[in-house]
Symmetry: C2
Subunit: 360 residues, 2 copies
């Protein structure tokens, strides 16, 4: 896969001997990440709006009862069949060589033999997520896959909850937890559920209206904001700065929504979430003259690991440097270890430790 010709909002991306068209930006129903393989279009996964005040937002947006499904902290893929292969597309419409290498470990792909036009929308998460730090606490190793929506090739709409559940059951697909169907009035029940998810360190929920219009919204727990901050503290200067302020604000609003004053333990955890990683990064710079995080993930095929690294380097652009650390046999896999180097913090600390003055 290599980036190719750019044509307005699309570009051609080569994949093996073939190539496909990727939408770099939204164009009407062709959302960013839409991928066109000849006659087959895999539509982009639409953004889901966030709500930060459960009661008022539900009153404002939902006209019918809705399902609450778990929101998993991982990366989004769309899986579909192309010839004999199952292709995994990232949110942006790139092929993910890691997912494709591991697909048979993650789900039973026989569904695609029976239903060749399905598109499974899934989150892949776990400590060996190679895209970002942080994992649902109930995944102890490697990664797992959780289907949360099903579409069809050449269609923008999602299958209904009933159709989806029928397919999940028939093919024993791993899926996000469904917490049930709620009416807008069942606010206390929802807050109790969210308090439990928060306690368990889980990210939050997606609300999906049980109707043709299928309205949606997402809502996250306070602890997931802390986890986000903790995961990226070393990334302080490389991230868009609203990353931190928006999560702190979400945390404050979550607590307000739960009718809670900030518990002392959570306040201290916020301090730790920010400071621990940053201080570790400063020490890391002092020792090794760079600030980075080491990721690992395993592959069946050595070639796919190299292809994946190439993909990461291309996607990271100038923002982040990717550096291979090891690629070795472990059990039945090739274990890849690589570093993501944070160039802005690395450069800034370099100047400071070099004795530079800063004019701010």
């Amino acid at each position: 896969m290599a980036k190719g010709q750019i044509l307005g909002k699309t570009e051609t991306v080569s994949l093996g001997q073939e190539s496909y068209l990727r939408y770099r930006e939204d164009e009407g129903q062709f959302l960013r990440g839409t991928a066109v393989f000849g006659e087959r279009t895999i539509f982009g996964y639409p953004k889901i709006g966030r709500i930060l005040n459960l009661a008022n937002s539900i009153k404002e947006h939902f006209l019918a009862p809705f399902w609450l499904e778990e929101k998993i902290d991982g990366y989004n893929v769309r899986l579909f069949r192309l010839g004999d292969e199952i292709v995994a597309l990232s949110r942006g419409g790139y092929v993910c060589h890691f997912t494709m290498d591991r697909i048979e470990d993650l789900l039973d792909t026989s569904i695609f033999a029976a239903e060749p036009d399905l598109v499974l929308c899934a989150e892949i998460a776990g400590p060996d997520n190679p895209y970002h730090i942080g994992s649902p606490p109930f995944i102890r190793q490697d990664v797992r896959l959780f289907v949360f929506d099903i579409m069809r090739v050449n269609e923008t709409r999602f299958l209904s909850q009933q159709e989806k559940i029928a397919l999940l059951d028939r093919y024993h697909l791993p899926a996000v937890e469904n917490f049930g169907r709620f009416t807008p009035g069942e606010l206390d029940e929802m807050q109790t559920l969210l308090a439990r998810l928060n306690e368990e360190g889980r990210e939050g929920v997606v609300l999906k209206e049980d109707s043709v219009s299928n309205r949606r919204a997402k809502y996250v727990t306070g602890n997931s904001c802390l986890a986000d901050i903790q995961a990226r503290a070393r990334d302080l200067l490389d991230l868009p700065e609203e990353y931190f302020t928006s999560r702190v604000l979400r945390l404050g609003l979550y607590l307000h929504d739960q009718g809670q004053s900030p518990p002392e333990a959570m306040v201290c955890q916020l301090g730790h979430a920010i400071l621990d990683g940053l201080v570790a990064g400063i020490h890391q710079y002092h020792r090794e003259h760079k600030v980075y995080h080491t990721y690992q993930c395993r592959f069946h095929q050595r070639d796919n690991a190299l292809r994946f690294l190439e993909q990461l380097r291309r996607e990271a652009g100038h923002q982040v440097q990717i550096s291979q650390r090891a690629l070795q046999r472990m059990d039945d896999y090739w274990l890849l270890k690589f570093d993501r180097i944070y160039p802005v913090l690395t450069g800034f600390l370099g100047k400071l430790f070099g004795g530079s003055l800063v004019f701010d």
Copy 2:
């Protein structure tokens, strides 16, 4: 005073019946904030570079011993004589009607009768600082003034430390604390001093080389970063976002410089610094449909209070709304209370509590 005609990097500002030229931007030695009153030019106060690693920065920048003076958390003014009046200019070159109203309370102005060409550079600080929240802990009420540099009209250079000390002594002027003259090798002594200032909740130091080239740098304590964050937490969305990240980074670097792991109390204090004000702001919005902070300061002349409010409104522009709360006699003063409303956080919370979806 009203803003007038803009001419390149300058604008004319009217002051009573007169007017003067203010530099809106640097133009060679005419730094931003330089003010030209006919034949008399009051040069802008130059920026002082910040250092974040004491040992290396001193090695890099200072060629001779230097004085350590206290850095006070207040606002910067330049005071000079214009006819019969003592005029106070803000960093940006605007007249400060609050300072001018209170000047006789803040220092003995007889120095200007004897030395009409002096420009006193001073910090004004205290709980009644009308420009920003936060005060040195040793000022219990109102504001106080601390001279830290002396210039002359029409000259860009500062008087030497010896000349300055002689004038401070002769005229009994209030000044920032001078912690003495240090050689670059006396690092432990400096770190001990900084640890004490940090303990006492004081902002930090300015290093001033005892030489003709008069090199300078500033260095702040970890606790001053926490105080900054605490002071502005409600201002989370209205501030440039690097406000928070830069202070967290400074805190981490301060701790590293002191060879300290973050003490648990400081970690929790960071959590509180961020969350307490923000949660208070959310509650404030919920109650009053706006997020604001109430300031107070006292004046001798009622007119000056009104002039000052007008000045604040003009300088705040569209970013911040100023709203008078009270102006009443208290003891020998007019006590002004006013609110600074944070429009971005106010607007954002308005949307959220109205049930809006956020696409981020």
